[in-house]
């Protein structure tokens, strides 16, 4: 056989081309999947201090890089996390905590009891549950390097629940010198002891947040459950890509450029569900609870009959259909403490949940409005147009109020405008307001103490400023009650009182599914109000 120069060249080129084409596939087949994941979170992480702000993203950041003394497990029971041993005195007024061995800060130094006491002090200044607890704390002595105490003036059944909470602000532990920062000033050093390290040099607010596995982290031996148990880190790197546009985020997930999209809008879900490799799942079963806040300081809602008229006018089903759309993701709920939670009682909600035809409800509402002496003066409804659920809900609520005789005037702005105006206690014509709408996490709503919006302390309460001594007395009674059943009994009375007084008007409850690459990731833990990245594994 004659071998020409042309044949040799052709064979050589063919081999090179085949190798070239095949090489990436061979390499890819041999490579293990990168131990990293990319998430599109619900918003931007623009504040790095999870105590200074109560923004959700700061709480997420806190759960990544810091650790907590206790953590709520999947059954909503507080379990030790950084704490190794807990001793409770027989009079239940002294709690002694001993830190478990091996806890280290990300700079390599050991976590001490002094650090924890300083962190507790800073946290309680900003947290509703913390303030309620610390109103009963007489001392927090440091016993030794690893041991400290919380001494109470009276037994307080919610102590461990408060330290273990998942809602913002989380009771995270910081180094003593960092925790010494005034709670109203943002910290400037970011050293945690949690399962992930925050990579400050790669942090780009508004764009990208990077965490790496903390190699020194010693997980507990128990299986992970809620934010309790062994936080085993199975990823080397977690990147948060801040993508503000929903369509872009969904496309990026479908193209495999990101692995997890936290809050895909409900209308995009069918597209995502149909896309290959994508799983759509609800992690936070308690979801969110909407509430219409009525201003108790000024007419007409300083009058109980007018508030009751509003309560009758508001139809949860109509609101949820407009705001959420898919009945699989929402429900009506007559509880001030989130349905399906341990405190999700619906006592006294007959009026709000009335099944009577709307015409009948509206007729009764008109009578009540007349009784209240409402003079037809415009009521100012704050309307945030840039958040879908808020925009839709307020438009429906405004119409429902109009239908029973309220003269509604919408004050439209972005959410930033609403949060400023809602703080104004003046009359509506002097920059104040009559109605605004907001929502909160079902988990924090479930506690009469944790959610400041439940307070009824008049001008010192949350926006709307309801004032009712019975409600306040029952909230305290609930916090001091020992055991779930005793608390539930108080919650039943409390819910009825809040409904009768029309503290605020609940607009229903909904869950928000997450979408992720199920063909790559597994092991997500269903934690309310947080997205944990421990226990998550990239398998493809």
């Amino acid at each position: 056989m004659k071998t020409s120069r042309r044949k040799v060249l052709s064979a050589g080129l063919a081999t090179a081309a085949l190798a070239g084409i095949g090489a990436p596939y061979i390499t890819r087949a041999q490579q293990k999947p990168p131990r990293q994941a990319r998430m599109v979170p619900q918003g931007d992480l623009n504040v790095l201090d999870p105590i200074w702000t109560t923004q959700n993203m700061a709480a997420y950041h806190g759960a990544m890089m810091y650790d907590t003394l206790f953590g709520i497990d999947a059954n909503f029971r507080p379990q030790p996390q950084m704490v190794g041993r807990t001793d409770i005195s027989t009079d239940r007024k002294t709690y002694t905590f001993e830190l478990r061995p091996g806890l280290k800060w990300h700079d390599g130094t050991a976590v001490t009891a002094r650090d924890c006491v300083a962190s507790l002090r800073r946290w309680q200044a900003k947290d509703g549950a913390g303030q309620h607890l610390f109103a009963r704390v007489t001392d927090t002595p440091v016993v030794d390097e690893k041991t400290f105490r919380i001494v109470l003036s009276e037994p307080y059944g919610l102590l461990l629940d408060a330290l273990a909470k998942t809602s913002t602000p989380l009771c995270v532990m910081m180094k003593a010198e960092i925790a010494a920062t005034d709670p109203n000033t943002q910290i400037t050093k970011h050293i945690g002891s949690g399962p992930f390290r925050f990579i400050e040099s790669e942090y780009r607010p508004g764009s990208r947040v990077v965490y790496e596995r903390n190699a020194d982290y010693v997980p507990r031996s128990e299986p992970a459950s809620g934010i309790a148990g062994g936080k085993r880190v199975l990823l080397d790197k977690v990147i948060w890509d801040i993508i503000p546009d929903a369509q872009t985020a969904a496309s990026a997930l479908m193209a495999g450029e990101v692995d997890f999209y936290e809050l895909p809008p409900i209308d995009i879900l069918p597209t995502l569900t149909a896309a290959p490799g994508i799983k759509v799942e609800v992690f936070n079963k308690l979801g969110s609870v909407g509430q219409v806040r009525l201003n108790h300081l000024h007419p007409p809602f300083n009058n109980l009959s007018a508030r009751k008229a509003a309560q009758l006018a508001i139809n949860q089903e109509d609101i949820q259909r407009a705001a959420v759309g898919n009945p699989a993701y929402y429900r009506t709920c007559g509880s001030h403490f989130a349905c399906d939670s341990a405190m999700g009682v619906e006592d006294g909600s007959e009026v709000l949940m009335m099944k009577a035809p709307m015409a009948q409800r509206q007729a009764r509402a008109r009578e009540l409005l007349k009784e209240s002496g409402y003079d037809g003066k415009p009521i100012v409804v704050l309307h945030a147009t840039n958040i879908h659920v808020m925009n839709q809900t307020v438009l429906v609520v405004a119409q429902q109020l109009r239908q029973v005789g309220f003269n509604v005037q919408l004050a439209s702005s972005d959410w930033g405008g609403v949060v400023t105006r809602r703080a104004n206690q003046n009359a509506p014509e002097q920059g104040g307001w009559n109605v605004f709408y907001t929502f909160s996490g079902g988990n924090s709503t479930a506690s009469p103490i944790s959610l400041f919006a439940h307070a009824a302390t008049g001008r010192k309460a949350w926006f709307g400023w309801p004032e009712n001594a019975s409600i306040e007395q029952m909230r305290t009674e609930w916090a001091l009650a020992s055991g779930l059943e005793a608390r539930r009994a108080v919650a039943q009375r409390l819910n009825k009182t809040m409904m009768d007084y029309v503290h605020d008007v609940k607009t229903g409850q909904w869950v928000q599914p997450h979408a992720y690459r199920g063909d790559r990731l597994r092991g997500f833990l269903p934690i309310p109000e947080n997205i944990p990245w421990w226990n998550v594994e990239r398998y493809a």
Binding site: T185, G206, P244, F452
Partner: protein, 314 residues
């Protein structure tokens, strides 16, 4: 010429001052409280008030303006109220993607638009001319985000040729950088292609009717040199003016494009800052934008004298 440039540069100072006063007043008179946003939804009014005080937002407005203005004159644009990072550093982090997007967009727009404009003028009244003008009308009429989503659907999701979103710096390679900019540049460039192509066509039509073009043609000058050397050069002044305006307009287009394609540029920085009332960032970026605008206008004015030697500044 030098004294003209110096005078124009000095003129930037009062412009900046007016921009500064305007932006500051507008922001502080508009509803919105950064302290309330920082504090979060579950915060008490007392906490919000404490944060407001710690940020210095409880000081009289004139005092706040004075300290911001004085710091700005010294080149200190302040610190973000939220992230605690210097505004200059944030802009430095974001300027690369924005400049990259602006440059590639203008490059695409100018090269495509001038070619189309010349062709349309050369073949005025033909099917090609009508097609170019139809394209121009479409380019103007379809919003950037619609073009963006359509491009993403086909090029990224269906054919997997290009990425959906994101930005890779040039330091990580020419191709990775370029492939992240192809779709955004086309989406953003559509309107500029339309704008520049129409002006090029109109300007070229005027010049092509001149006697010297007819003379050149009669002397046997080939079509291409005649179009480029004789016609385009003389039609360039209005085209350059439109390109200058286009660069300035690009700043607003960049904001939407950066959101649709998730490019972490200055446009997104300022949009995010507006939604949370991060005053130092908004004020700082606005002052920078105004300076860029003034400088671009100056550069265009200077360019005129090079294109048309009859234009002289004294």
């Amino acid at each position: 010429m030098l004294s003209y440039i110096a005078r124009r540069l000095l003129g930037v100072i009062p412009v900046m001052l007016v921009v500064g006063i305007f932006v500051f007043s507008l922001l502080h008179l508009a509803p919105g409280d950064p302290a309330a946003i920082i504090a979060g939804d579950n915060a008490t009014e007392a906490n919000v008030a404490r944060i407001r005080a710690s940020l210095g937002l409880d000081r009289p407005l004139l005092e706040q303006f004075g300290s911001w203005g004085w710091a700005t004159l010294r080149g200190d644009l302040g610190v973000s109220m939220f992230s605690n990072i210097a505004v200059t550093k944030l802009v430095e982090q974001r300027i690369g993607p924005t400049v990259s997007l602006a440059l590639t967009t203008m490059l695409v727009a100018i090269s495509v638009a001038i070619t189309l404009g010349i062709l349309a003028a050369w073949k005025a009244g033909s099917l090609l001319d009508r097609a170019v003008m139809a394209l121009a009308v479409t380019g103007f009429s379809v919003p950037v985000f619609v073009v963006g989503y359509i491009l993403v659907y086909f090029f990224a999701l269906q054919w997997h040729w290009l990425p959906v979103q994101g930005y890779v710096p040039l330091s990580e390679g020419l191709w990775p950088w370029l492939r992240h900019l192809v779709l955004p540049s086309i989406a953003l460039g559509m309107a500029y292609v339309a704008l520049i192509a129409r002006i090029t066509r109109a300007s070229m039509l005027e010049v092509l009717a001149e006697d010297y073009i007819r003379t050149a043609s009669a002397k046997g000058v080939a079509t291409l040199p005649m179009l480029l050397r004789h016609a385009l050069k003389n039609a360039a002044v209005p085209i350059v003016t439109v390109i200058g305006i286009g660069v300035a307009l690009l700043m607003s287009g960049v904001v939407i494009t950066e959101s649709v394609f998730n490019i972490p540029g200055v446009g997104r920085l300022v949009v995010d800052a507006i939604s949370r009332r991060d005053y130092p960032i908004i004020q700082g970026v606005m002052v920078i934008f105004a300076a860029v605008y003034v400088i671009i206008n100056l550069a265009i004015d200077i360019l005129y004298s090079f294109i048309d030697p009859r234009i002289r500044y004294s």
